[in-house]
């Protein structure tokens, strides 16, 4: 048992140390320095945006001997940028070895796959998916001014996956009438990560967009804050990890109805427990018992 405790302690302690429990990169480009994934998924809405990215240098014992070059490519990284690649400002070896981490900015619509032969941002509506790599490379050696020739080390690249393909529209399979709410069961395509409910009072022109709901394992959502006895139209939209929104689902209608739960059933039956602080008088018998025992001890 002691050894079990020691193992548990050691494993929990190691999880706290950066680079021991987590899969951090030694030389790479990432969305954040602590990021454990080499992917950045963006959607069509990110097209005109710029993003700050991080380069990370944790090569212990190896020194950068020349500038670190950073570039974006559609193909594989290699040791240096190609003709069609987009290159960013280089980082001096002194900064690389002293700071070990730094930032640079990319414009999404300047990535090489989006500028070639297209005047519309991100290649326009024709381009639905595209992958770029943000690369880095630096000549490095154990001793830069010795006899050893520096070798070019290539960073673990960041993969920027452009996904403008929206998920399929959700299919609403059931509407359950609840107290001041409608519960919708639905099915969605596998790339859906969130669902957005829209609701309007039947007869109104416009839908009101409700708060986006993260999709777990469940496939139901409750649209609440409605009036009992009023009929509402409801529809859903699916959202994927690149924030692409699907087309609208079919519109379904439902009228919330007043329901009686267990508390209502108890009160309707004639139960007189008032709930809340009104139950405090139940303490009186105990207080009386305490008072009685105290008198006897005197």
């Amino acid at each position: 048992m002691r050894s079990l405790v020691l193992v548990l302690f050691a494993s929990s302690a190691s999880a706290q140390l950066p680079g021991v429990g987590m899969n951090l990169v030694t030389f790479g480009v990432r969305e954040s320095p602590q990021s454990t994934t080499d992917q950045l998924i963006i959607g069509a809405s990110s097209c005109g945006e710029s993003r700050i990215l991080y380069w990370v240098w944790n090569q212990l014992g190896t020194q950068p001997c020349n500038n670190m070059r950073l570039w974006a490519t559609e193909g594989s990284c290699g040791n240096q940028p190609g003709d069609k690649d987009k290159e960013y400002d280089a980082v001096t070896p002194l900064l690389v070895s002293s700071l070990r981490m730094g930032t640079f900015t990319i414009n999404i619509n300047e990535l090489p796959g989006f500028t070639e032969g297209s005047s519309t941002p991100c290649g326009g509506a024709q381009t639905l998916t595209k992958e770029h790599k943000i690369c880095a490379a630096v000549p490095a050696s154990l001793q830069c001014f010795g006899l050893q020739t520096p070798q070019t080390i290539t960073a673990s690249p960041l993969r920027i996956i452009y996904d403008a393909q929206p998920p399929s529209a959700p299919i609403i399979t059931n509407v359950a009438l609840q107290d001041k709410a409608l519960s919708l069961e639905f099915s969605v395509s596998s790339d859906t990560t969130q669902i957005v409910p829209f609701v309007r009072r039947q007869g109104d022109a416009d839908f009101v967009r409700r708060t986006t709901v993260n999709l777990g394992t469940g496939r139901s959502v409750i649209v609440d804050g409605l009036l009992n006895g009023t009929t509402y139209d409801v529809m859903l939209r699916a959202v994927d990890s690149a924030t692409n929104e699907s087309a609208d689902s079919e519109i379904v209608s439902g009228t919330p109805r007043r329901t009686v739960g267990f508390w209502g059933a108890y009160r309707d039956a004639g139960g007189t427990d008032a709930g809340g602080c009104a139950t405090a008088p139940a303490l009186f018998p105990l207080l009386a018992l305490g008072w009685f025992l105290r008198r006897r001890h005197r």
Binding site: G261, F262, W263, Y266, G275, A282
Partner: protein
């Protein structure tokens, strides 16, 4: 000299003497830890409801049916006195919940909405365990009794939110007293060596399986209270620490 050495060697092989020196003494007993599980059905439907006829379904049965709630409980007691049995004082915390379908207010039919009763039970109290025979003569049965003060915060949800009826919230705290009678089976008899190892390595002196009957009587807060009194069995495992 040779005879003396031989005698010493022979003496060292006598089993009684070897065991007496090698068996480690039991560590001091201080706490009792109990983990319990069992059915719990409050006597809500035993109240006389003025708005219901003799054939009408009572509230608990109407919403939840006739099945009990499932109660899980954890208790920890400190041993105050250990001579002819053990007297302990401590606290136990239990949780039980039950869900059913709410009823449509107009049609009276089951609606597609869940309603649930959730009950937390906190019971400080004292116990007496007659473990003298088990500890001294290895008779593995330990009867015990307990007396406890009961505090039960409860709340009712309908559709995921606290239910209100007649403008009153479906939540409250009930108070009462409980008495328990139980019987423990000391498991050390199954493997005494393993039991000793369990004590020397982790500090668990003895392990028990037990069954206990709880009689819980809650004070009435009004004429027709939400009566959480019960008579229920709990089963579990206990450790002397």
């Amino acid at each position: 000299m040779m005879v003396a050495a031989l005698s010493l060697a022979l003496l060292s092989q006598i089993p009684g003497q070897v065991n007496a020196s090698s068996v480690a003494a039991e560590s001091p007993r201080t706490f009792v830890l109990e983990l319990k599980l069992g059915p719990y059905k409050p006597l809500i439907d035993n109240a006389v409801f003025p708005n219901l006829g003799p054939m009408d379904q009572r509230p608990y049965a109407r919403v939840f049916g006739d099945t009990p709630m499932l109660m899980g409980e954890v208790g920890l007691e400190y041993m105050i006195w250990q001579r002819f049995g053990t007297i302990s004082a401590g606290l136990s915390v239990a949780y039980a919940e039950k869900f059913g379908k709410a009823v449509d207010a107009e049609t009276g039919l089951k609606a597609e909405q869940s309603t649930g009763l959730r009950i937390l039970t906190v019971r400080p109290g004292a116990s007496y365990r007659f473990d003298y025979l088990a500890l001294k003569y290895k008779i593995p049965l330990v009867p015990y009794v307990k007396g406890q003060f009961v505090t039960m915060p409860w709340w009712v949800v309908n559709g995921g939110a606290l239910e209100y009826a007649d403008g009153r919230p479906g939540e409250g705290v009930a108070f009462g007293l409980a008495g328990t009678v139980g019987l423990s089976l000391m498991l050390d008899i199954l493997d005494q060596r393993l039991a000793r190892d369990f004590d020397s390595s982790v500090g668990v002196n003895h392990t028990y399986l037990f069954a206990e009957f709880n009689l819980q009587e809650m004070f009435r807060s009004s004429a027709v209270p939400l009566l959480l009194s019960s008579r229920h069995w709990l089963f579990g495992i206990a450790f002397d620490l």
